[in-house]
Protein backbone atom coordinates (compact mmCIF):
# COMPACT_ATOMS: atom_id res chain seq x y z
CA UNK A 1 0.00 0.00 0.00
CA UNK A 2 1.44 3.38 -0.85
CA UNK A 3 1.52 5.58 2.19
CA UNK A 4 0.82 8.67 0.13
CA UNK A 5 0.88 9.94 -3.41
CA UNK A 6 4.42 11.19 -3.00
CA UNK A 7 5.66 7.63 -3.22
CA UNK A 8 4.42 7.46 -6.79
CA UNK A 9 6.53 10.45 -7.68
CA UNK A 10 9.57 8.75 -6.28
CA UNK A 11 8.78 5.80 -8.47
CA UNK A 12 8.46 7.97 -11.56
CA UNK A 13 11.37 6.39 -13.51
CA UNK A 14 9.78 2.97 -13.29
CA UNK A 15 6.34 4.27 -14.08
CA UNK A 16 7.59 6.24 -17.07
CA UNK A 17 9.44 3.24 -18.40
CA UNK A 18 6.43 0.96 -17.93
CA UNK A 19 4.16 3.42 -19.70
CA UNK A 20 6.81 3.69 -22.38
CA UNK A 21 6.78 -0.07 -22.89
CA UNK A 22 3.00 -0.09 -23.26
CA UNK A 23 3.17 2.84 -25.67
CA UNK A 24 5.87 1.08 -27.67
CA UNK A 25 3.66 -1.97 -27.99
CA UNK A 26 0.77 0.21 -29.12
CA UNK A 27 3.00 1.97 -31.65
CA UNK A 28 4.08 -1.39 -32.96
CA UNK A 29 0.53 -2.67 -33.23
CA UNK A 30 -1.23 0.35 -34.69
CA UNK A 31 1.36 1.99 -36.91
CA UNK A 32 3.62 0.75 -39.62
CA UNK A 33 6.47 2.98 -38.53
CA UNK A 34 7.49 1.05 -35.43
CA UNK A 35 10.93 0.27 -36.77
CA UNK A 36 11.71 3.90 -37.50
CA UNK A 37 10.11 5.43 -34.44
CA UNK A 38 11.08 3.01 -31.71
CA UNK A 39 14.86 3.53 -31.76
CA UNK A 40 14.36 7.21 -31.08
CA UNK A 41 11.52 6.66 -28.69
CA UNK A 42 13.54 4.16 -26.66
CA UNK A 43 16.61 6.37 -26.69
CA UNK A 44 14.66 9.30 -25.33
CA UNK A 45 13.02 7.07 -22.77
CA UNK A 46 16.36 5.73 -21.53
CA UNK A 47 17.88 9.17 -21.54
CA UNK A 48 15.05 10.60 -19.48
CA UNK A 49 14.87 7.74 -17.01
CA UNK A 50 18.65 7.59 -16.58
CA UNK A 51 19.08 11.26 -15.94
CA UNK A 52 15.91 11.64 -13.90
CA UNK A 53 17.19 8.91 -11.60
CA UNK A 54 20.63 10.37 -11.21
CA UNK A 55 19.29 13.87 -10.59
CA UNK A 56 17.09 12.54 -7.81
CA UNK A 57 19.90 10.56 -6.28
CA UNK A 58 19.60 12.32 -2.95
CA UNK A 59 15.92 11.47 -2.53
CA UNK A 60 16.77 8.22 -0.84
CA UNK A 61 13.71 6.58 0.72
CA UNK A 62 12.28 3.21 1.49
CA UNK A 63 8.76 3.05 0.15
CA UNK A 64 5.91 0.56 -0.12
CA UNK A 65 6.44 -0.64 3.40
CA UNK A 66 10.18 -1.05 2.95
CA UNK A 67 9.89 -3.29 -0.08
CA UNK A 68 11.76 -0.99 -2.40
CA UNK A 69 14.40 1.65 -2.05
CA UNK A 70 14.54 4.66 -4.34
CA UNK A 71 17.36 7.12 -4.83
CA UNK A 72 20.90 6.57 -3.67
CA UNK A 73 22.39 3.29 -4.76
CA UNK A 74 19.32 2.38 -6.81
CA UNK A 75 19.68 5.65 -8.72
CA UNK A 76 23.30 4.92 -9.56
CA UNK A 77 22.32 1.53 -10.92
CA UNK A 78 19.32 2.93 -12.81
CA UNK A 79 21.69 5.33 -14.46
CA UNK A 80 24.10 2.55 -15.42
CA UNK A 81 21.34 0.34 -16.87
CA UNK A 82 19.70 3.11 -18.84
CA UNK A 83 22.89 4.52 -20.26
CA UNK A 84 23.97 1.01 -21.21
CA UNK A 85 20.65 0.41 -22.94
CA UNK A 86 20.83 3.82 -24.61
CA UNK A 87 24.28 3.09 -25.97
CA UNK A 88 23.18 -0.35 -27.11
CA UNK A 89 20.20 1.07 -28.98
CA UNK A 90 22.32 3.81 -30.54
CA UNK A 91 24.93 1.32 -31.63
CA UNK A 92 22.59 -1.31 -32.96
CA UNK A 93 20.12 0.48 -35.23
CA UNK A 94 22.27 -0.32 -38.23
CA UNK A 95 23.61 -3.58 -36.92
CA UNK A 96 20.27 -5.30 -36.46
CA UNK A 97 19.43 -4.65 -40.12
CA UNK A 98 22.61 -6.44 -41.10
CA UNK A 99 21.94 -9.25 -38.68
CA UNK A 100 18.32 -9.67 -39.76
CA UNK A 101 16.57 -8.89 -36.51
CA UNK A 102 15.18 -5.53 -37.46
CA UNK A 103 11.97 -6.03 -35.52
CA UNK A 104 10.23 -3.58 -33.24
CA UNK A 105 10.23 -6.26 -30.57
CA UNK A 106 13.94 -5.80 -30.25
CA UNK A 107 13.45 -2.38 -28.70
CA UNK A 108 10.43 -3.38 -26.64
CA UNK A 109 12.33 -6.32 -25.18
CA UNK A 110 15.30 -4.12 -24.32
CA UNK A 111 12.97 -1.70 -22.57
CA UNK A 112 11.35 -4.51 -20.61
CA UNK A 113 14.66 -6.03 -19.62
CA UNK A 114 15.82 -2.64 -18.36
CA UNK A 115 12.65 -2.35 -16.33
CA UNK A 116 13.45 -5.74 -14.84
CA UNK A 117 16.95 -4.62 -13.94
CA UNK A 118 15.64 -1.44 -12.35
CA UNK A 119 13.22 -3.47 -10.26
CA UNK A 120 16.10 -5.70 -9.14
CA UNK A 121 18.26 -2.75 -8.20
CA UNK A 122 15.62 -1.16 -6.02
CA UNK A 123 14.32 -4.32 -4.38
CA UNK A 124 14.55 -4.85 -0.67
CA UNK A 125 12.30 -7.83 -0.67
CA UNK A 126 13.10 -11.19 -2.17
CA UNK A 127 9.76 -11.25 -3.93
CA UNK A 128 10.58 -8.04 -5.78
CA UNK A 129 14.05 -9.32 -6.62
CA UNK A 130 12.53 -12.47 -8.07
CA UNK A 131 10.10 -10.56 -10.24
CA UNK A 132 12.76 -8.22 -11.56
CA UNK A 133 15.11 -11.10 -12.21
CA UNK A 134 12.56 -13.07 -14.18
CA UNK A 135 11.41 -10.06 -16.16
CA UNK A 136 15.01 -9.41 -17.19
CA UNK A 137 15.90 -13.04 -17.84
CA UNK A 138 12.86 -13.88 -19.94
CA UNK A 139 13.49 -10.83 -22.11
CA UNK A 140 17.09 -11.95 -22.53
CA UNK A 141 16.05 -15.50 -23.51
CA UNK A 142 14.00 -14.02 -26.32
CA UNK A 143 16.63 -11.45 -27.32
CA UNK A 144 19.26 -14.16 -27.55
CA UNK A 145 17.11 -16.08 -30.03
CA UNK A 146 15.53 -13.20 -31.85
CA UNK A 147 16.66 -14.36 -35.27
CA UNK A 148 14.84 -17.67 -35.19
CA UNK A 149 16.17 -18.69 -38.62
CA UNK A 150 19.75 -18.86 -37.44
CA UNK A 151 20.79 -22.03 -35.70
CA UNK A 152 23.35 -20.05 -33.71
CA UNK A 153 20.59 -17.93 -32.22
CA UNK A 154 18.48 -20.99 -31.57
CA UNK A 155 21.26 -22.71 -29.75
CA UNK A 156 22.22 -19.68 -27.68
CA UNK A 157 18.63 -19.09 -26.77
CA UNK A 158 17.95 -22.71 -25.83
CA UNK A 159 21.06 -23.06 -23.74
CA UNK A 160 20.42 -19.79 -22.00
CA UNK A 161 16.80 -20.66 -21.42
CA UNK A 162 17.33 -24.17 -20.08
CA UNK A 163 20.21 -23.29 -17.81
CA UNK A 164 18.64 -20.00 -16.76
CA UNK A 165 15.40 -21.59 -15.68
CA UNK A 166 17.36 -24.40 -14.09
CA UNK A 167 19.07 -21.75 -11.97
CA UNK A 168 15.70 -20.12 -11.34
CA UNK A 169 14.54 -23.42 -9.93
CA UNK A 170 17.35 -23.30 -7.36
CA UNK A 171 16.67 -19.66 -6.58
CA UNK A 172 12.99 -20.32 -5.97
CA UNK A 173 13.70 -23.35 -3.86
CA UNK A 174 16.26 -21.36 -1.90
CA UNK A 175 13.78 -18.56 -1.35
CA UNK A 176 11.22 -21.09 -0.19
CA UNK A 177 13.60 -22.42 2.44
CA UNK A 178 14.57 -18.93 3.59
CA UNK A 179 10.94 -17.98 3.78
CA UNK A 180 10.14 -21.12 5.69
CA UNK A 181 12.72 -20.48 8.38
CA UNK A 182 12.18 -16.75 8.73
CA UNK A 183 8.51 -16.39 7.89
CA UNK A 184 9.29 -13.33 5.85
CA UNK A 185 10.75 -12.30 2.52
CA UNK A 186 11.96 -8.90 3.65
CA UNK A 187 15.73 -8.66 3.35
CA UNK A 188 15.87 -6.28 6.24
CA UNK A 189 14.01 -8.67 8.48
CA UNK A 190 16.21 -11.57 7.44
CA UNK A 191 19.46 -9.84 8.29
CA UNK A 192 18.14 -8.11 11.38
CA UNK A 193 17.70 -11.47 13.02
CA UNK A 194 20.49 -13.17 11.19
CA UNK A 195 22.14 -14.56 14.31
CA UNK A 196 18.88 -16.18 15.31
CA UNK A 197 18.47 -18.00 11.99
CA UNK A 198 22.11 -18.64 11.56
CA UNK A 199 22.11 -22.03 13.20
CA UNK A 200 19.20 -23.31 11.17
CA UNK A 201 20.63 -25.52 8.46
CA UNK A 202 17.63 -24.98 6.20
CA UNK A 203 18.12 -21.24 6.34
CA UNK A 204 21.79 -21.43 5.44
CA UNK A 205 21.10 -23.87 2.61
CA UNK A 206 18.36 -21.58 1.35
CA UNK A 207 20.63 -18.53 1.42
CA UNK A 208 23.36 -20.44 -0.35
CA UNK A 209 21.01 -21.61 -3.09
CA UNK A 210 19.90 -18.01 -3.54
CA UNK A 211 23.51 -16.81 -3.77
CA UNK A 212 24.36 -19.66 -6.14
CA UNK A 213 21.48 -18.66 -8.36
CA UNK A 214 22.89 -15.16 -8.59
CA UNK A 215 26.39 -16.49 -9.04
CA UNK A 216 24.94 -18.12 -12.13
CA UNK A 217 23.62 -14.77 -13.32
CA UNK A 218 26.93 -12.97 -12.79
CA UNK A 219 28.71 -15.84 -14.57
CA UNK A 220 31.02 -16.99 -11.82
CA UNK A 221 32.86 -20.30 -12.11
CA UNK A 222 31.59 -23.06 -11.77
CA UNK A 223 28.20 -21.66 -12.75
CA UNK A 224 29.54 -19.95 -15.83
CA UNK A 225 29.22 -22.68 -18.41
CA UNK A 226 26.38 -21.04 -20.32
CA UNK A 227 28.24 -17.76 -20.80
CA UNK A 228 30.64 -18.44 -23.69
CA UNK A 229 28.08 -20.26 -25.81
CA UNK A 230 25.31 -17.77 -25.22
CA UNK A 231 27.51 -14.72 -25.74
CA UNK A 232 28.95 -16.15 -28.90
CA UNK A 233 25.64 -17.23 -30.33
CA UNK A 234 23.56 -14.15 -29.67
CA UNK A 235 23.48 -11.04 -31.78
CA UNK A 236 26.49 -8.89 -30.88
CA UNK A 237 24.48 -5.94 -29.63
CA UNK A 238 22.41 -8.24 -27.44
CA UNK A 239 25.57 -9.78 -26.05
CA UNK A 240 26.81 -6.30 -25.26
CA UNK A 241 23.73 -5.58 -23.20
CA UNK A 242 23.57 -8.98 -21.48
CA UNK A 243 27.21 -8.97 -20.51
CA UNK A 244 27.11 -5.48 -19.04
CA UNK A 245 23.75 -4.32 -17.78
CA UNK A 246 22.56 -7.87 -17.08
CA UNK A 247 25.62 -8.58 -15.02
CA UNK A 248 25.37 -5.24 -13.24
CA UNK A 249 21.76 -6.03 -12.29
CA UNK A 250 22.73 -9.38 -10.78
CA UNK A 251 25.53 -7.66 -8.88
CA UNK A 252 23.15 -5.01 -7.62
CA UNK A 253 21.14 -7.77 -5.93
CA UNK A 254 24.24 -9.30 -4.37
CA UNK A 255 25.24 -5.87 -3.16
CA UNK A 256 21.83 -5.36 -1.57
CA UNK A 257 22.00 -8.72 0.17
CA UNK A 258 25.55 -8.38 1.44
CA UNK A 259 25.19 -4.65 2.05
CA UNK A 260 22.21 -5.18 4.30
CA UNK A 261 24.07 -7.95 6.05
CA UNK A 262 26.93 -5.51 6.60
CA UNK A 263 24.73 -2.75 7.95
CA UNK A 264 23.41 -5.11 10.63
CA UNK A 265 26.99 -6.23 11.19
CA UNK A 266 26.06 -9.85 10.71
CA UNK A 267 29.01 -12.20 10.57
CA UNK A 268 30.44 -12.55 7.09
CA UNK A 269 29.55 -16.20 6.67
CA UNK A 270 29.80 -16.27 2.91
CA UNK A 271 33.32 -14.93 2.65
CA UNK A 272 34.85 -18.31 1.88
CA UNK A 273 32.24 -19.02 -0.73
CA UNK A 274 32.93 -15.78 -2.57
CA UNK A 275 36.69 -16.13 -2.20
CA UNK A 276 36.60 -19.52 -3.89
CA UNK A 277 34.39 -18.51 -6.78
CA UNK A 278 36.43 -15.31 -7.20
CA UNK A 279 39.68 -17.23 -7.52
CA UNK A 280 38.18 -19.82 -9.85
CA UNK A 281 36.50 -17.22 -12.03
CA UNK A 282 39.50 -14.95 -12.46
CA UNK A 283 41.84 -17.82 -13.26
CA UNK A 284 39.56 -19.90 -15.46
CA UNK A 285 38.26 -16.84 -17.29
CA UNK A 286 41.70 -15.41 -17.97
CA UNK A 287 43.34 -18.67 -18.93
CA UNK A 288 40.69 -20.02 -21.29
CA UNK A 289 40.36 -16.62 -22.97
CA UNK A 290 43.94 -17.06 -24.18
CA UNK A 291 42.93 -20.03 -26.26
CA UNK A 292 40.13 -18.18 -28.04
CA UNK A 293 40.30 -16.70 -31.50
CA UNK A 294 36.70 -15.62 -31.78
CA UNK A 295 36.50 -12.18 -30.25
CA UNK A 296 33.00 -12.55 -28.87
CA UNK A 297 33.94 -15.79 -27.16
CA UNK A 298 37.13 -14.22 -25.87
CA UNK A 299 35.18 -11.35 -24.36
CA UNK A 300 32.77 -13.87 -22.86
CA UNK A 301 35.63 -15.48 -20.97
CA UNK A 302 36.96 -12.07 -20.10
CA UNK A 303 33.54 -11.29 -18.67
CA UNK A 304 33.85 -14.37 -16.46
CA UNK A 305 37.22 -13.11 -15.26
CA UNK A 306 35.77 -9.67 -14.55
CA UNK A 307 32.96 -11.25 -12.56
CA UNK A 308 35.74 -12.90 -10.57
CA UNK A 309 37.47 -9.57 -9.84
CA UNK A 310 34.19 -8.13 -8.65
CA UNK A 311 33.54 -11.21 -6.55
CA UNK A 312 36.81 -10.42 -4.78
CA UNK A 313 35.06 -7.27 -3.63
CA UNK A 314 32.09 -9.34 -2.44
CA UNK A 315 34.41 -11.55 -0.45
CA UNK A 316 36.07 -8.51 1.08
CA UNK A 317 32.66 -7.40 2.25
CA UNK A 318 33.28 -3.86 3.40
CA UNK A 319 31.67 -0.63 2.32
CA UNK A 320 34.75 0.39 0.44
CA UNK A 321 34.87 -2.74 -1.66
CA UNK A 322 31.14 -2.51 -2.38
CA UNK A 323 31.59 1.05 -3.63
CA UNK A 324 34.55 -0.27 -5.63
CA UNK A 325 32.35 -2.92 -7.27
CA UNK A 326 29.83 -0.26 -8.23
CA UNK A 327 32.59 1.83 -9.79
CA UNK A 328 33.97 -1.25 -11.50
CA UNK A 329 30.55 -2.15 -12.90
CA UNK A 330 30.04 1.32 -14.31
CA UNK A 331 33.49 1.25 -15.90
CA UNK A 332 33.00 -2.30 -17.17
CA UNK A 333 29.64 -1.44 -18.73
CA UNK A 334 31.16 1.34 -20.78
CA UNK A 335 34.31 -0.37 -21.92
CA UNK A 336 32.55 -3.60 -22.80
CA UNK A 337 29.74 -1.94 -24.72
CA UNK A 338 32.37 0.02 -26.60
CA UNK A 339 34.26 -3.14 -27.49
CA UNK A 340 31.13 -5.01 -28.56
CA UNK A 341 30.02 -2.08 -30.67
CA UNK A 342 33.31 -2.19 -32.57
CA UNK A 343 32.90 -5.93 -33.00
CA UNK A 344 29.41 -5.36 -34.37
CA UNK A 345 30.82 -2.90 -36.90
CA UNK A 346 33.54 -5.25 -38.10
CA UNK A 347 31.23 -8.25 -38.17
CA UNK A 348 30.06 -9.16 -41.65
CA UNK A 349 26.81 -10.70 -42.76
CA UNK A 350 26.14 -14.20 -41.43
CA UNK A 351 28.42 -13.89 -38.44
CA UNK A 352 31.65 -13.76 -40.39
CA UNK A 353 34.68 -11.65 -39.48
CA UNK A 354 34.50 -12.34 -35.79
CA UNK A 355 37.95 -13.84 -35.40
CA UNK A 356 41.19 -12.08 -34.64
CA UNK A 357 42.31 -12.44 -38.25
CA UNK A 358 39.73 -9.95 -39.38
CA UNK A 359 41.29 -7.40 -37.07
CA UNK A 360 44.72 -7.65 -38.65
CA UNK A 361 45.69 -4.29 -40.03
CA UNK A 362 42.52 -2.61 -38.83
CA UNK A 363 44.57 0.52 -38.37
CA UNK A 364 44.87 0.84 -42.14
CA UNK A 365 41.14 0.50 -42.69
CA UNK A 366 39.98 2.78 -39.92
CA UNK A 367 42.42 4.54 -37.60
CA UNK A 368 39.53 5.67 -35.45
CA UNK A 369 38.20 2.18 -34.78
CA UNK A 370 41.74 0.91 -34.28
CA UNK A 371 42.50 3.55 -31.69
CA UNK A 372 39.23 3.04 -29.86
CA UNK A 373 39.59 -0.74 -29.89
CA UNK A 374 43.01 -0.36 -28.33
CA UNK A 375 41.59 2.04 -25.78
CA UNK A 376 38.92 -0.46 -24.73
CA UNK A 377 41.39 -3.33 -24.65
CA UNK A 378 43.77 -1.32 -22.48
CA UNK A 379 40.87 -0.39 -20.25
CA UNK A 380 39.70 -4.00 -19.95
CA UNK A 381 43.24 -5.10 -19.21
CA UNK A 382 43.29 -2.54 -16.42
CA UNK A 383 46.06 -0.28 -17.58
CA UNK A 384 46.04 3.23 -16.14
CA UNK A 385 44.78 5.86 -16.75
CA UNK A 386 41.78 4.00 -18.10
CA UNK A 387 38.66 3.30 -16.09
CA UNK A 388 39.36 -0.42 -15.74
CA UNK A 389 42.48 0.17 -13.72
CA UNK A 390 40.73 2.07 -10.97
CA UNK A 391 37.89 -0.43 -10.89
CA UNK A 392 40.33 -3.20 -10.09
CA UNK A 393 42.36 -0.95 -7.86
CA UNK A 394 39.45 -0.08 -5.58
CA UNK A 395 38.27 -3.67 -5.37
CA UNK A 396 41.73 -5.03 -4.59
CA UNK A 397 42.24 -2.29 -2.07
CA UNK A 398 38.99 -3.25 -0.40
CA UNK A 399 40.24 -6.85 -0.22
CA UNK A 400 43.48 -5.74 1.42
CA UNK A 401 41.46 -3.74 3.94
CA UNK A 402 39.65 -6.93 4.92
CA UNK A 403 42.95 -8.79 5.32
CA UNK A 404 42.42 -10.74 2.13
CA UNK A 405 45.75 -9.78 0.63
CA UNK A 406 46.19 -13.22 -0.91
CA UNK A 407 42.98 -12.70 -2.84
CA UNK A 408 44.21 -9.37 -4.15
CA UNK A 409 47.45 -11.05 -5.22
CA UNK A 410 45.55 -13.75 -7.10
CA UNK A 411 43.54 -10.99 -8.74
CA UNK A 412 46.66 -9.13 -9.82
CA UNK A 413 48.26 -12.31 -11.15
CA UNK A 414 45.28 -13.22 -13.24
CA UNK A 415 44.98 -9.67 -14.58
CA UNK A 416 48.58 -10.18 -15.63
CA UNK A 417 47.55 -13.27 -17.56
CA UNK A 418 44.64 -11.41 -19.08
CA UNK A 419 46.90 -8.69 -20.47
CA UNK A 420 48.12 -11.31 -22.91
CA UNK A 421 44.89 -11.75 -24.78
CA UNK A 422 43.76 -8.14 -24.57
CA UNK A 423 47.00 -6.82 -25.97
CA UNK A 424 47.00 -9.52 -28.62
CA UNK A 425 44.05 -7.70 -30.13
CA UNK A 426 46.06 -4.47 -30.14
CA UNK A 427 48.96 -6.28 -31.78
CA UNK A 428 46.66 -7.56 -34.51
CA UNK A 429 45.12 -4.16 -35.00
CA UNK A 430 48.39 -2.31 -35.38
CA UNK A 431 51.19 -4.67 -36.24
CA UNK A 432 49.72 -7.31 -38.53
CA UNK A 433 49.24 -6.99 -42.23
CA UNK A 434 45.70 -7.00 -43.49
CA UNK A 435 44.76 -10.38 -44.82
CA UNK A 436 41.13 -9.70 -45.59
CA UNK A 437 39.71 -6.96 -47.73
CA UNK A 438 36.35 -5.64 -46.65
CA UNK A 439 34.52 -2.39 -46.23
CA UNK A 440 33.60 -1.33 -42.74
CA UNK A 441 30.04 -0.15 -42.81
CA UNK A 442 29.37 3.44 -41.90
CA UNK A 443 27.07 3.91 -38.96
CA UNK A 444 26.64 7.25 -37.25
CA UNK A 445 24.93 5.75 -34.22
CA UNK A 446 27.70 3.22 -33.65
CA UNK A 447 30.43 5.80 -34.00
CA UNK A 448 28.61 8.05 -31.58
CA UNK A 449 28.28 5.20 -29.09
CA UNK A 450 31.95 4.31 -29.46
CA UNK A 451 33.05 7.91 -28.96
CA UNK A 452 30.83 8.32 -25.93
CA UNK A 453 32.00 5.14 -24.27
CA UNK A 454 35.60 5.98 -25.07
CA UNK A 455 35.19 9.39 -23.52
CA UNK A 456 33.55 7.93 -20.42
CA UNK A 457 36.27 5.31 -20.05
CA UNK A 458 38.88 8.05 -20.11
CA UNK A 459 36.94 10.35 -17.80
CA UNK A 460 36.47 7.56 -15.27
CA UNK A 461 40.19 6.99 -15.39
CA UNK A 462 41.14 10.63 -14.99
CA UNK A 463 38.62 11.60 -12.33
CA UNK A 464 38.22 8.32 -10.48
CA UNK A 465 38.05 9.85 -7.07
CA UNK A 466 35.23 12.28 -7.71
CA UNK A 467 33.04 9.44 -8.92
CA UNK A 468 34.14 7.16 -6.15
CA UNK A 469 33.20 9.80 -3.59
CA UNK A 470 29.76 10.05 -5.12
CA UNK A 471 29.32 6.30 -4.92
CA UNK A 472 30.71 6.00 -1.41
CA UNK A 473 28.32 8.69 -0.20
CA UNK A 474 25.27 6.93 -1.52
CA UNK A 475 26.12 3.34 -0.87
CA UNK A 476 25.40 2.49 2.68
Amino acid sequence: MPANNYEYFLLLPHIVLSVGIVLSILIEIFTRKGKEVLPWFSSLLFLFVGFYSIINIDKNFFIFGGMVEVGGRASIFNFIFNIAALLTVLASTDYIKKYGINYSEYYILIQSSVLGMMVMAMAHDILVIFMGLELMSICFYILAGLNRKRSSNNEASLKYFLLGSFATGFIVYGIALVYGTTGSTSIQNIFENFMQYFNNILFIVGMLLLLIGFSFKIAAVPFHMWVPDVYQGSATSVTGLMSTAGKAAAFSVLLILLGTSLSYSSPIVFRNYFSVIAVLSTLVGSIIAIAQTNLKRMLAYSSIAHAGYMAIGLAAGNNYSFAGITFYLAAYVFMNIGAFTIISLIEGKDETRLTLNSYAGLNKKSPFLAAMMSLFMFALAGIPPMAGFFGKYYVFFGAIKSDLTWLAIVGVLSSLISVYFYLRVVVYVYFMNENEQFEIEKSVGSNLAISLTGLLVLLFGIFPDSLMNLIVNFIK
Binding site: L127, F130, M131, E134, I138, Y141, I142, G145, R148, K149, S151, S152, N154, E155, A156, S157, L158, K159, F161, L162, S165, F166, T168, G169, F170, V172, Y173, I175, A176, L177, Y179, G180, G183, S184, T185, P228, D229, Q232, G233, A291, R297
Partner: protein, 102 residues
Protein backbone atom coordinates in the same frame (compact mmCIF):
# COMPACT_ATOMS: atom_id res chain seq x y z
CA UNK B 1 -8.70 -34.19 11.82
CA UNK B 2 -5.29 -35.74 11.69
CA UNK B 3 -2.55 -33.20 11.23
CA UNK B 4 0.13 -34.35 8.76
CA UNK B 5 3.54 -33.30 10.05
CA UNK B 6 5.25 -30.53 8.12
CA UNK B 7 8.30 -32.68 7.49
CA UNK B 8 6.30 -34.99 5.25
CA UNK B 9 5.48 -32.20 2.88
CA UNK B 10 9.03 -30.88 2.94
CA UNK B 11 10.51 -34.29 2.22
CA UNK B 12 8.03 -34.82 -0.58
CA UNK B 13 8.89 -31.49 -2.15
CA UNK B 14 12.62 -32.11 -1.75
CA UNK B 15 12.11 -35.45 -3.47
CA UNK B 16 10.19 -33.79 -6.28
CA UNK B 17 12.98 -31.24 -6.63
CA UNK B 18 15.57 -33.97 -6.87
CA UNK B 19 13.53 -35.80 -9.46
CA UNK B 20 13.36 -32.59 -11.43
CA UNK B 21 17.12 -32.06 -11.24
CA UNK B 22 17.73 -35.64 -12.27
CA UNK B 23 15.36 -35.23 -15.17
CA UNK B 24 17.25 -32.18 -16.39
CA UNK B 25 20.51 -34.08 -16.21
CA UNK B 26 19.34 -37.30 -17.78
CA UNK B 27 16.60 -36.78 -20.34
CA UNK B 28 17.58 -35.91 -23.91
CA UNK B 29 14.35 -34.47 -25.19
CA UNK B 30 14.27 -30.71 -24.75
CA UNK B 31 10.60 -30.71 -23.87
CA UNK B 32 11.06 -33.32 -21.17
CA UNK B 33 14.00 -31.38 -19.79
CA UNK B 34 11.83 -28.33 -19.70
CA UNK B 35 9.07 -30.24 -17.93
CA UNK B 36 11.61 -31.36 -15.33
CA UNK B 37 12.43 -27.72 -14.69
CA UNK B 38 8.72 -27.06 -14.21
CA UNK B 39 8.73 -29.87 -11.71
CA UNK B 40 11.52 -28.15 -9.78
CA UNK B 41 9.51 -24.93 -9.69
CA UNK B 42 6.42 -26.78 -8.53
CA UNK B 43 8.30 -28.52 -5.77
CA UNK B 44 9.39 -25.10 -4.60
CA UNK B 45 5.76 -24.03 -4.75
CA UNK B 46 4.81 -26.95 -2.56
CA UNK B 47 7.45 -25.89 -0.07
CA UNK B 48 6.05 -22.38 -0.06
CA UNK B 49 2.53 -23.54 0.53
CA UNK B 50 3.63 -25.86 3.31
CA UNK B 51 5.49 -23.15 5.15
CA UNK B 52 2.71 -20.67 4.52
CA UNK B 53 0.18 -23.01 5.98
CA UNK B 54 2.25 -24.00 9.00
CA UNK B 55 3.49 -20.49 9.73
CA UNK B 56 -0.02 -19.10 9.29
CA UNK B 57 1.41 -16.39 7.07
CA UNK B 58 0.13 -15.61 3.60
CA UNK B 59 3.32 -14.34 1.94
CA UNK B 60 4.16 -17.85 0.79
CA UNK B 61 0.89 -18.21 -1.03
CA UNK B 62 1.34 -14.86 -2.73
CA UNK B 63 4.80 -15.94 -3.77
CA UNK B 64 3.40 -19.09 -5.30
CA UNK B 65 1.15 -17.03 -7.52
CA UNK B 66 4.13 -15.10 -8.76
CA UNK B 67 6.13 -18.25 -9.35
CA UNK B 68 3.25 -19.73 -11.31
CA UNK B 69 2.99 -16.61 -13.42
CA UNK B 70 6.67 -16.65 -14.11
CA UNK B 71 6.53 -20.35 -14.92
CA UNK B 72 3.76 -19.68 -17.40
CA UNK B 73 5.79 -16.96 -19.06
CA UNK B 74 8.79 -19.22 -19.17
CA UNK B 75 6.71 -22.00 -20.65
CA UNK B 76 5.52 -19.70 -23.43
CA UNK B 77 9.02 -18.51 -24.23
CA UNK B 78 10.57 -21.94 -23.80
CA UNK B 79 8.14 -23.71 -26.07
CA UNK B 80 8.58 -20.99 -28.68
CA UNK B 81 12.33 -21.50 -28.59
CA UNK B 82 11.95 -25.25 -28.86
CA UNK B 83 9.61 -24.88 -31.82
CA UNK B 84 12.11 -22.59 -33.52
CA UNK B 85 14.78 -25.23 -33.05
CA UNK B 86 12.52 -27.96 -34.32
CA UNK B 87 11.83 -26.00 -37.49
CA UNK B 88 15.53 -25.67 -38.17
CA UNK B 89 16.74 -29.12 -37.21
CA UNK B 90 13.59 -31.27 -37.24
CA UNK B 91 14.67 -32.57 -33.88
CA UNK B 92 14.49 -31.43 -30.29
CA UNK B 93 17.21 -33.70 -29.03
CA UNK B 94 19.50 -31.48 -26.98
CA UNK B 95 22.48 -33.70 -27.61
CA UNK B 96 22.51 -32.49 -31.16
CA UNK B 97 22.73 -28.87 -30.21
CA UNK B 98 26.38 -28.12 -29.83
CA UNK B 99 27.77 -25.79 -32.48
CA UNK B 100 29.37 -23.75 -29.76
CA UNK B 101 31.96 -25.40 -27.64
CA UNK B 102 35.47 -24.88 -26.25
Amino acid sequence: MLQVPMEYYLILSAFMFTVGVAGVLIRRNAIVVFMSIELMLNSANLTFITFSSYLGNSIGQIFVFFVMTVAAAEAAVGLAIIIAIFRNKLSVNIDEINIFKW
